[in-house]
């Protein structure tokens, strides 16, 4: 082993524990399957309604500019529900380990200094400079990143799941409260779609942030668990959260 290689190995620092990497990639696969199959299911009726009822003959809230296709529902539903089971079980596993290990508190909950308005403003400016928000080099996730992760985990994913279940005649027979929660089956369908749009928005920002902050090293970190950049960089100052 050459000295150079030794040096590289020594420089690699732990980034993500195994359970985070596993659940991240399982989630990636399930999410993409849900996205593709959800789109296929949507094509049977690319119209959105509010309330309990809605059909081709009814007045729609939004008519999406998509071709109507009734032939994609069968495989779409099969893949959607298989992927949904994987998404949910994987998400439950992630949530339990994240809670038990303190990951939620240590890694995802913004620290007191991060919630200072000046810090948040500086973090927004850092993102808007488009030169990289410094997520990779920082010793901790930046505050926007933390808030985005928490919003997806605590709000968006549960809304996605519950609005999906509200479309199930079996589940709503057991829990008719779901109809009350969303304001009807078609409202739940519309909210399910809007949540999917937000999820895609999150995904695009997530990918942009990866590309803007040393994608190769970040991918290495999420695959092998180790990355070249120091985990604890210079302490972020109030003016420069990076």
């Amino acid at each position: 082993m050459t000295n150079a290689m030794t040096a590289r190995v020594e420089k690699a620092v732990p980034r993500h524990p195994l359970w985070v990497r596993l659940t991240h990639w399982v989630n990636t696969g399930a999410f993409l399957a849900l996205l593709v199959s959800g789109f296929a299911i949507l094509l049977a009726l690319p119209r959105l309604f509010w309330g309990e009822t809605g059909a081709n003959d009814a007045l729609a809230w939004i008519v999406l500019p998509l071709p109507v296709n009734l032939e994609q529902t069968g495989w779409g539903r099969n893949l959607h529900f298989l992927a949904a089971w994987i998404f949910v079980l994987n998400g439950v596993l992630y949530g339990l380990v994240a809670l038990a290990s303190g990951h939620f508190l240590r890694r995802l909950t913004p620290e007191r200094d991060q919630l200072h308005p000046r810090h948040i403003a500086a973090d927004i400016r850092a993102h808007l400079r488009l030169t990289g928000s410094g997520a990779a080099g920082a010793g901790r996730y930046n505050v926007l990143q933390k808030l985005a992760y928490l919003a997806v985990i605590l709000v968006l994913a549960p809304v996605m799941l519950l609005s999906g279940l509200t479309m199930s005649p079996g589940v709503t027979a057991a829990y008719p409260e779901l109809f009350t929660l969303f304001g009807g089956r078609q409202s739940a369908r519309t909210i399910h779609f809007l949540s999917a749009v937000l999820f895609v928005g999150f995904l695009l920002i997530h990918l942009w942030q990866v590309l803007a902050n040393g994608p190769l090293d970040l991918m290495r970190g999420m695959i092998t668990g180790r990355s070249a950049r120091p985990k604890s960089g210079p302490a972020p100052s109030e003016e420069d959260p990076r």
Partner: protein, 247 residues
């Protein structure tokens, strides 16, 4: 355990729930077969919903004012079948619904005989797998009453229903004997229109619309469905849809 389950199934709705959960094992033995990952996910969904529905709750019922002005009619809307056309011309006076298989007293009911049985009217939300939903009012006799009147044999596990237009489907007793599973001859206060399955259609309220067959032709009680057709339990399963459509 199996005999106890069977007897409980006959007893009443709360016991039916227990029987249904235990009956899940029998579903896997003699029920529709689907291999691979989709089979696994179907089984997970079925087992979860059987647990959630173990007390056999009813689905929501609305007042008449909630009935949708337009209720879509899809798939077959007027069967192209000589017998059906003749029967329709005679206002279904010659129509018969044979109930056979694992029953003590096989019979063929006329429309008048079904109408003379205890009627149930339910205004419910119909959910189609295509994504649309509409509210309709359905009047008919519960399938459990019809099956009781012919004496369902204890070894019966599934009810196979065939329609004039070639559709067929099967239901395990958990759903077949549910109080809202009815043979509907009326819709929104009038006779069931041809487009919606006249003279009699099925309503299975806790599953998607494709389980509520139109234009009923026959009812048969069986102990297994894995030998029917391709062994998948229904016509739509053979087209790639799930046999159980509670989701």
């Amino acid at each position: 355990m199996s005999d106890l389950t069977r007897r409980r199934l006959m007893l009443g709705s709360s016991a039916l729930g227990i029987g249904g959960v235990l009956g899940g094992c029998e579903l896997i033995e003699s029920g529709p077969r689907r291999s691979g990952l989709y089979g696994l996910s179907d089984t997970l969904t079925l087992a979860t919903q059987r647990f959630l529905l173990r007390d056999q709750p009813l689905v929501r019922e609305f007042g008449r004012e909630a009935i949708s002005a337009v209720f879509p009619a899809i798939n077959t809307t007027d069967p192209d079948n000589p017998d059906y056309r003749r029967s329709k011309a005679a206002e279904f006076s010659d129509w018969r619904l044979p109930v056979s298989g694992l029953v003590e007293r096989p019979a063929a009911f006329t429309l008048a005989e079904l109408r003379a049985m205890p009627a149930r009217t339910q205004v419910t939300l119909h959910s189609c797998e295509q994504g649309w939903s509409a509210i309709g009012g359905w009047t008919g006799v519960s399938l459990s009453h019809v099956l009781a009147s012919v004496g369902l044999k204890p070894e019966a596990r599934f009810i196979v229903i065939r329609a004039v237009d070639g559709w067929w489907d099967s239901y395990d007793l958990f759903d077949a004997l549910h109080p809202q599973t009815i043979l509907a001859y009326g819709m929104n206060g009038g006779d069931l229109p041809v487009a919606h399955g006249a003279p009699v259609r099925l309503r299975v309220e806790r599953q998607l619309g494709y389980k509520s067959l139109k234009y009923l032709a026959s009812i048969e009680a069986t102990d297994r469905v894995d030998g029917l057709g391709q062994g998948r339990g229904s016509m739509v399963s053979e087209m790639g849809f799930s046999w159980y459509a509670g989701i």
